[in-house]
């Protein structure tokens, strides 16, 4: 009986703690959605209302009138481009680090991570000057290239950890079956490592989707600006227009959410499989 009571108390506290954590995680999203559906007076009203007295879609209409779809499309192009280029650049070095021995391998692998030790803001000025000198300032391509030094190293390191878990016998079987090294990689290794690739892809997509500092610094004209820059328009020096800001934020959450829902089984498998050896 004593053990049962203690077990019950422990269970209660566990559930209570989990509930509090869940509330802390979910509440901001709940607040974001409900606020985006409130009228302006209700948003600024005191005391606060936790459920809209009157529902309105005016803020969604407002961001639609401000050509939100255009910024959305730019975000898709920039984030998609960052994801694909990071993977394209990082895939083969990651495999090489996992399979081959060569002089300077460890220092080279460590140097790949050097960028990760510094905040992105430290490199903003040199990156800005480089893009300006090459005529890539104020372009989507320029922003993608600016993101690559921050996404590619983690791509390499994470994928290397994943490749290490792939048994060497798989490659040897492919070689014996008549594959060249390239064929062996793309016909056998690449399909097997799709979970890890999907996980890294999601990470780079999400990183570039929500990044603000470089986006605001590099993208000047409306034609090339993306969602973070668009949303920053609603944050003024003296006032923040919460309604359209939250409406835009909610809509901008949807693509990463859809991607994650579609690829989540790869993401979970990729995270756990890549963490076995490193």
């Amino acid at each position: 009986m004593r053990g049962g009571k203690r077990s019950g108390a422990v269970t209660f506290f566990c559930y209570a703690a989990l509930t509090l954590i869940a509330i802390a995680v979910v509440f901001p999203i709940y607040w974001l959605i409900t606020t985006s559906l409130k009228t302006y007076p209700e948003i600024y009203q005191w005391p606060l209302t936790y459920w809209p007295n009157t529902f309105t879609a005016e803020h969604y209409g407002k961001i639609g009138d401000m050509d939100f779809l255009h910024y959305f499309t730019n975000s898709i192009i920039i984030s998609g481009g960052t994801m694909l280029l990071s993977l394209a650049i990082g895939l083969l070095p990651a495999w090489a680090f996992s399979r081959y021995r060569f002089r300077g391998k460890i220092p080279l692998l460590l140097s790949v991570l050097v960028f990760q030790m510094f905040p992105m803001a430290v490199f903003l000025v040199p990156v800005f000057k480089l893009l300006n000198a090459t005529g890539l300032l104020n372009t989507r391509t320029g922003l993608i290239l600016a993101y690559l030094p921050f996404t590619t190293p983690l791509t390499i390191v994470f994928l290397r950890s994943f490749f290490v878990t792939i048994p060497k016998e798989l490659e040897e079987a492919a070689i014996l079956d008549g594959c060249s090294v390239t064929q062996m990689f793309f016909r056998v290794i690449f399909p097997v490592t799709l979970p890890g690739i999907a996980a890294v892809g999601i990470y780079t997509f999400l990183f570039s989707w929500s990044e603000l500092l470089y986006a605001m610094s590099i993208l000047v004209d409306k034609e090339v600006q993306n969602i973070p820059t668009f949303l920053s328009l609603f944050v003024g020096q003296y006032q923040t227009r919460w309604g359209p800001l939250f409406a835009g934020s909610f809509v901008s959450m949807l693509p990463p959410l859809v991607i994650f829902l579609l690829l989540q089984r790869y993401f979970i498998a990729g995270l756990t499989a890549g963490s076995v050896k490193g």
């Binding site: 016998e169 040897e172 492919a174």
Partner: protein, 376 residues
């Protein structure tokens, strides 16, 4: 087993094969001829170089020195896929994203064979190995034994001239291992293809092989048929590696040596005459007497006598193993009848037939036996 081994011409020849990893030489001048259709087993403890030798034959590792010939043609520089060999790995190495049928047909697809031909060949092999109901499954949906059969099937579809097996049964449980061993033996009888099989399990070696190659530390200790290795081990290592439980060894000295026989003393002090000889041995030389547990009789039945103080008796039903110490304090094991109920701390008299005893010199090499146990 193949009774015409001596008449086989070499299908595969290894000449002074050396393998080094950096400054470390792991294979030291291996010479071996393998006949067409022969089932050769490379056996030895972990780290002896047997898998490395197999990988050199397959082409997955580069040969550091020496030459490798297949049907008389030097293949040191031939790519693995062009050697006409197929390998079955210990971990199966099945492609997890492909179905069983796709796994089996992969090599033919890489060779750009027509789809119809691939389908015919895959179905033929699936029939042989009873894989037909599994063709559309992925490897993760198969049991260990099924995966192993698919791995064999994938090798079989390629119609290789040499099959290479790298400890294929190590990942299976004991019962499945026995079943698969029989299947591999049946496959060899049916196909009569040259097979080179690596294992650390001497039971697999004894039951499957036409000839066994016993290896240690990168050297070949002895090559012979299972019974040759059992009855005429070349040295202490082979004598103790082949046979389970392993051969008993007793320290002794030569009392008298002639060109036909050697007299040695047992731990009891009794002298026995063994039908073995060696040119360079003189009276007084230290030797080791070897006798297998199954060649010792419990009871004083004539022949040489040893008294064993039993401390453990393992009853396995059909057999009982008695473990203990002889008069010299040396550990010994004896195979007794299944009904034997010897209690611990009992002194048990043992009889040894001199004809079944082996003798090894101080350097571990076997004495020459004039009359082979094989010919009895």
């Amino acid at each position: 087993m193949n009774d015409n081994i001596k008449e086989l011409r070499p299908h595969l020849s290894l000449r002074e094969i050396v393998k080094s990893f950096g400054p470390f030489e792991v294979l030291h001048g291996i010479d071996l001829d393998i006949g067409k259709g022969e089932f050769v087993v490379l056996v030895g403890p972990s780290g002896c170089g047997k898998s490395t030798l197999l990988r050199l034959i397959s082409g997955l590792e580069e040969i550091s020195g020496g030459e490798l010939f297949l049907d008389g043609k030097r293949i040191n520089d031939t790519t693995p896929s062009q050697r006409g060999m197929a390998m079955v790995f210990q971990s199966y190495a099945l492609y997890p994203h492909m179905t069983v049928a796709q796994n089996m047909g992969f090599a033919l697809r890489m060779a750009k064979a027509p789809k119809a031909e691939i389908d015919v060949r895959v179905n033929e092999v699936a029939q042989i190995l009873q894989l037909e109901p599994l063709l559309e499954r992925k490897p993760k949906q198969l049991s260990g034994g099924q995966r192993q059969r698919v791995a064999i099937g994938r090798a079989l579809v390629r119609d290789p001239s040499v099959f290479l097996f790298d400890e294929p049964l190590s990942n299976l449980d004991a019962e499945l291992r026995v079943q698969m061993r029989v299947e591999i033996a049946r496959l060899h009888q049916k196909l009569k293809t040259t097979m080179i099989y690596v294992t650390h399990d001497q039971v697999e070696a004894m039951t499957l092989a036409d000839r066994i190659v016993v290896m240690q530390n990168g050297y070949v200790e002895q090559v012979g048929t299972p019974l040759e290795l059992y009855h005429q081990p070349a040295n202490v290592f082979v004598a103790q590696f082949i046979g389970s439980p392993k051969m008993n060894l007793m320290e002794s000295r030569v009392v008298e040596a002639s060109s036909r026989e050697t007299v040695v003393g047992l731990p009891s002090g009794q002298q026995i005459t063994l039908p073995v000889t060696r040119d360079d041995i003189r009276a007084g030389a230290p030797v080791k007497i070897g006798i297998r547990p199954e060649d010792i009789a419990v009871g004083a039945n004539g022949g040489g006598r040893i008294d064993l103080k039993v401390d453990v008796a393992e009853c396995l039903g059909g057999t009982t193993y008695l473990y203990g110490e002889n008069e010299s304090g040396e550990r010994m094991v004896v195979e007794a009848d299944g009904g034997d109920r010897t209690a611990p701390n009992t002194m048990v008299p043992l009889s040894v037939d001199p004809a079944l005893c082996h003798l090894f010199s101080e350097d571990g090499q076997s004495f020459f036996r004039l009359e082979s146990a094989l010919s009895r």
